[in-house]
Amino acid sequence: MARIGVFICHCGENISATVDVVKVAEVASKMQGVAFSTEYKYMCSAPGQDKIVQAIKEHKLTGIVVAACSPRMHESTFRKATAEGGINPYLCEMANIREHCSWVHERSEETTEKAIDIVRTLVAKVRRNAPLFPIKVPVTKTALVIGGGIAGIQAALDIANAGHKVIMVEKQPSIGGHMSQLSETFPTLDCSQCILTPRMVEVSQHPNITLHTYAEVESVSGFIGNFEVKIKMKAKSVDHVKCTGCGECWQKCPSKKIPDEFNAGLSNRTAIYTPFPQAVPNKPVIDRANCTWFTKGGKCGICQKVCKAEAIDYTIQDTFIDVKVGAIVTATGFDLKHTDFFPEYGYGEFKDVIDGMQFERLASASGPTAGVIRRPSDGKVPEKIVFIACAGSRDKAKGIEYCSKICCMYTAKHAMLYKHKNHDGKAYVFYMDIRAAGKGYDEFVRRAIEDDHVEYIRGRVSKVYEHNGKLIVKGVDTLLNSTPVDIEADMVVLATAIVANKDAESVAQKMHISYDKHHFFAEAHPKLKPVETNTAGIMLAGACQSAKDIPESVSQASASASKAIALFSNNEMSREPSVAAVNNTNCTGCLLCQDVCPYLAIEKEEIKDRAGNVLRYAAKVNSGLCQGCGTCVAMCRNKSIDLQGFSNEQMLGEVMSLLNKPF
């Protein structure tokens, strides 16, 4: 005999402003199976939750329906309160009358009727809820960090220092990411590599961290606490155990005309190479797509000849390893918008129109011009530089509506670096707004303007074109009554938009995490869960989630690490018991369910008689693997398999009661 308690929440005024909560409580009290019904201002508060506890005891309730916000918000809160009241927490369900009702409709009879319908639906479900008990699974106390930039490095160190094992996978030959390409970092103008490389070395030497570079994640399966990850170790063509890092090979390599990714295309590298002198590991790999031996059927082979350690092996193939991890931190970083996305600025056409990363490499002491700012076209030092902020960002017409966050700061930094190196040079910045909200950030920009005399012009640039060997920048000064401003520049630097990596979509799909239309990975909740994803056990760190600077990436990385460490603090994890179960009396053993299960959670069971003879077969669910999607249930022809928490009876009960029909 069901004795359900119904609790209608006002949610302050969020619900009560449009829904007549008193009427809903009154109608609910008469619904089939309801023994107690009330309404209260804030159900999720301590006194609110206490009402549930008390009501269970007083009215000997057998089930709870809380009509309030979305179960995605407070299902666990109310289930905890239900448990405190002394009954199984899975006998509690939430009726969503806020996000799905009060917030999306005006105050009217229809809105209250809808709230009543929703409550009745969940009451009908709870009448058929069975007590469920969490499933305990062991937790693998190893974390996988995908991406070896500053965010990945920070997360890996935090988790490793807490005493847990970490596997780091980086697709480039070295860790370090984009931070290793920077010259100085704002707002302190710290040398980027000086603060980064000690961390990189720490990662490579940490006893708890296993580093795989030139490797990518191939597939991810399993679930929180129990992921199985296949990693592709791309063929380096160099045995890193034998290799001493002497450098003979790349010094003698005849293929010298490959655009150097590290220097953002401003210089060339060889086919066998280390990306930069401080690379970790500091051992080369062969870029097979551009190596003569591989592209021209075995010609050349010079590196192998000169290698005294006999470390070069052209026959090495890609290999795959399988690892088991309990948590994954995704720190795959970002890219800059390149190519002829900006035909009006001549980017890609005029050699002296470059992007922010290229300027960093020019400014960097270890860059292609040894830190002297030179024009890529003729190597001369520019006397006038124009910086264009918001190149592509905040522009609906270009499909990038968001702000790339870091460009105001790095543009100020670039202008300052130029002025420090060229006191007589002129630097102009065309901007829309100045976003310098961090600690010491606004002061940094003021320094550029007041101390280094960078001229800031508020206005956009409509065109850049070549004329008599100069770059004519056609802009406007909106603070001076929209006067057109034409500058004859020697170099133009575009602060191009931050975008997701080209392979971000495929990475997200491999990991079953959500992503938005710009292919940035989606956090579980924009306010309160900025580092978790909707996939339990997978966290996000750094710019792969959205454009951000180094301090934020580091913070987010530590936050992700703390989630992993919390997960690893127990040997066992409780899993939600919303799993499938087979009634093997009815089951005919067709195993259609096995075919459709994405987690391979269904096995074939032999039904034997007492003598041990196999009578027939039936399906059996491995509750450790089952994720509770229910596809098997919909497939089953004679309804022998059912999903606890969303059973056939429960769902039919919901449909019938929604339409106010008896069932």
Partner: protein, 290 residues
Amino acid sequence: MKIGYYPGCSLEGTSKEYSDSLFAVAEKCGITLETINDWNCCGASAAHTLNHDLAIALPARSIALAEKQGLTEIVIPCAACYSRLSQSQLEMNSHFVTKSKIESYLEMSFSGTIKLLSVIEFLEKYIFPEVDKHVVNKLNQKTACYYGCLLVRPKEISSIKRSEDPIEMEEVMKIAGAIPVKWAFKTECCGAGFSVSKTDFVAKLSGKILENAAENGAESIIVACPMCHMNLDMRRPNIKEQIKKDINIPVLFITQALGLSMGISADKLGLNKHFVPTDTAVKCVIKKEA
């Protein structure tokens, strides 16, 4: 092969040569252009500055008439008319309330299914497939293709893919055996409607366009809009006075240039109707090798 045709005011008046050359090129390729009966002014800039409904109704009437005439496609050579008709059709097809209102003003039904073609889309769709048969000459000159503004925006109706650096007209010119130059003022404003009210503005703006074309070695400028043509051609004396340079580069409509490459006579193409003499461009034309 019959395609509908909307001339607009300019093609029957100041830019008659644009119409003549379009008809000549179409005729060569076996295409008949059927003018919409009783077509009316598209409203140009005047209508949409004064009254939103009028701005939609005027072009919608011409389109509705074309539908009645059984036309499924119309080519609209004037860039402004093309813009107005396309915008009107888009508005009618997107907003049911607007459509009902305008239909009641016009007392005509509007299905919005006619395909509206800009001159470039028309050339790409109907002339390119026939072109190898008909192109017998090479223009053999450096041309600067000038798009102006209305051909490249707004994005919702323009057939041009890259509005900041378009290449569609250059593709036509390559087929005609010309050498398109790289230059920086393809989509810069010529001064547009200020041609009459503030001619000195037009002289300045169009002057910059002319100068840049000349600097980049252009021997002729190709346009696909009567307004662009007027400002660069008819206002040449004003421009010369403004920029103090004697630049005599002729301005040809894209259909005239293509026509020359198809062996159509300069007179039939209306090349004698321009203010800036076009004989320097015509003289460059040579026979294509077999």
